[in-house]
């Protein structure tokens, strides 16, 4: 990757700004046969919890206009299996691993962070305090600045990894949450997670998803994501990784220009599992043509 794609995020610098979003790329190893996963800016792995989780009652996905809902419920193999079975392969492949973690209590977030601190080959820790798909937990940390600040502080104390905190669009005031996590010691803000939606199956006269509601992702989410990023950028000085509906170079440029230091690509991976590498190459060409580096365009659409 060319130098102009470098994406500095405080202590961490990514080789290129395209990171695959948590939950949409598994543990990345599944794609290694046909995607050069080491060249990805990074991979935020499927949200990891202390214990394995089976996930929610199906159906778990439904399509919406230019988007989709998911109510996976954080089905995952748990930290033990991940560290034991998956990490060696990720190290071997040379993937820039962002450990996306999920818990329903501060103690569990802290415990996860502690256990990841020793693990070789983790580039950053990402706290998912914004998952809408788990009863009694997850998102409630993301909807108020106070709760978000608390969990961030607690984790900050026990981790030496670059700390990313992932915000929810359902926060009453997302800027307040952003300021709180910055103050509590987050190195990077990632935003946004999905926003809850519902599809009714009018033939069966009931909600389509087993869980009734699911998080909406994909292009339909993009205008919200860009707006929130634009607002948050004005209120914090730590770098922000933007996401929500990115599926083309122009989509990613919207995020960079609104203020994203890097981006995550989620739902678009389903249609094209190597899309992030294609976008990195396209961005490289776009920047080269204009004799710019990525860092020249971050936030240029702000006043």
């Amino acid at each position: 990757m060319s130098a102009r794609l470098k994406a500095p995020l405080g202590a961490l610098t990514l080789d290129n700004p395209f990171v695959n979003a948590s939950g949409t790329y598994g543990y990345a190893v599944e794609y290694a046969d046909f995607v050069d996963v080491a060249r990805l800016g990074g991979v935020s792995v499927k949200g990891i919890s202390l214990e394995p989780r089976p996930g929610n009652a199906p159906p778990r996905t439904a399509e919406t206009a230019a988007g989709m809902l998911n109510s996976i419920g954080l089905a995952n193999i748990g930290i033990e299996a991940f560290v034991r079975d998956t990490m060696p392969r990720l190290r071997e492949l040379g993937v820039t691993v962002i450990a996306n973690t999920f818990a329903t209590s501060i103690e569990d977030f802290v415990e996860l962070a502690k256990r990841f601190d020793d693990v070789e080959g983790i580039a950053a820790l990402e706290l998912n305090i914004s998952c809408p798909n788990v009863h009694a937990g997850g998102m409630h940390f993301g909807v108020s600045g106070e709760a978000a600040g608390e969990v961030t502080s607690a984790v900050r104390e026990v981790t030496s990894l670059p700390l990313m905190v992932k915000l929810s669009p359902e926060a009453g005031d997302i800027c307040e949450v952003a300021r709180a996590v910055e103050a509590a010691g987050a190195d990077v803000i990632t935003m946004i997670n999905t926003i809850r939606g519902m599809v009714i199956d009018v033939d069966r006269r009931r909600p389509m998803l087993g869980q009734k509601m699911g998080g909406m992702s994909g292009p339909a989410l993009k205008p919200l994501a860009v707006r929130m990023l634009y607002e948050v950028y004005q209120q914090v000085s730590i770098p922000i990784i933007g996401m929500g509906g990115i599926g083309s170079l122009r989509d990613s440029l919207e995020f960079f220009m609104a203020g994203a230091a890097a981006v995550q690509v989620g739902t678009a991976n389903y249609a094209e599992p190597g899309i992030s590498l294609r976008l990195a190459d396209e961005l490289d060409a776009w920047l080269a043509e204009r004799d710019l580096a990525l860092t020249d365009i971050i936030g240029v659409a702000q006043d």
Partner: protein
């Protein structure tokens, strides 16, 4: 596993409401019967997800059969020669062709014909004669039956009796299993049919492999979207643990 940008090379209409799309990319996608691909056209932001299709053939050309039932399948059914189709696969676990000397009975309904025609051809090429029970509501729901007749003993049923035996696939299946239970059943089709086929097979202790469907996003085990509850009380993933399952792993035997 490959992700290919292919082009449509041929569009056929094997029955009034079915399209067969043949496509070719730079390389073939080698797949076994029952394995599938995720495909998508270049139609912009909606619908976002690719769609799952069983391969009817693979090699220089791949082909899928599409029955329009919603937006994605309608867009695909409207595609023309030269259009770009992105194809991602092969995915999943197909049929296990090791029949251990048992007579293969293939039972298909609707687009379930896709993997089973492929399977019938493979049995035929391997010198194994199979029976192919093919059910439709009317005679218009039996695409590719001529092709089937070339490689297997075809038994047709239609609900309205317009062609073959009047009724559903379960009648001839039960009859055949009663005649000779040294058989193995392979099926693909609507949910109700799969249940009936599973019941009929499990009732006489005949092994039975079913291809399931579920809404999918990734198609390769990573999104955890396509869960179905197994008889052992754990979730199975249709795209990864399946789409072909042992009937007994998914459906309780009828009591």
């Amino acid at each position: 596993m490959k992700y290919l940008r292919t082009r449509i090379t041929e569009v056929l209409t094997p029955a009034p409401n079915y399209k067969l799309l043949r496509f070719a990319g730079d390389e073939p996608i080698p797949a076994r019967p029952g394995e599938f691909v995720m495909v998508r056209g270049e139609w912009g932001v909606h619908p976002v997800l690719p769609r799952a299709f069983s391969l009817v053939e693979c090699g220089e050309f791949g082909s899928i059969i599409v029955k329009p039932i919603g937006e994605g399948t309608e867009l695909l059914a409207g595609m023309e020669v030269g259009d770009v189709l992105t194809v991602f696969g092969p995915l999943g676990k197909g049929y296990d062709m090791d029949n251990a000397g048992r007579r293969p009975i293939l039972v298909a309904g609707g687009v379930g014909v896709a993997p089973l025609l492929y399977l019938a051809r493979e049995f035929h090429d391997a010198g194994t004669r199979s029976v192919f029970i093919y059910g439709g509501r009317t005679e218009d729901d039996l695409p590719l039956s001529e092709e089937i007749a070339e490689v297997a003993d075809l038994v047709v049923t239609t609900e309205n009796g317009a062609r073959g035996e009047k009724g559903r696939v379960t009648a001839p299946l039960t009859r055949l299993l009663e005649e000779d239970n040294n058989a193995i059943v392979y099926s693909c089709g609507p949910d109700g049919m799969l249940h009936a086929v599973s019941d009929a097979s499990q009732a006489v202790g005949v092994p039975c492999q079913l291809a399931l469907e579920a809404p999918m996003a990734c198609g390769m085990g990573t999104c955890k979207g396509c869960a179905v509850m197994g008889t052992d009380g754990t979730y199975k993933y249709v795209c990864y643990d399946g789409p072909v399952f042992e009937a007994a792993d998914i459906f309780e035997a009828a009591s």
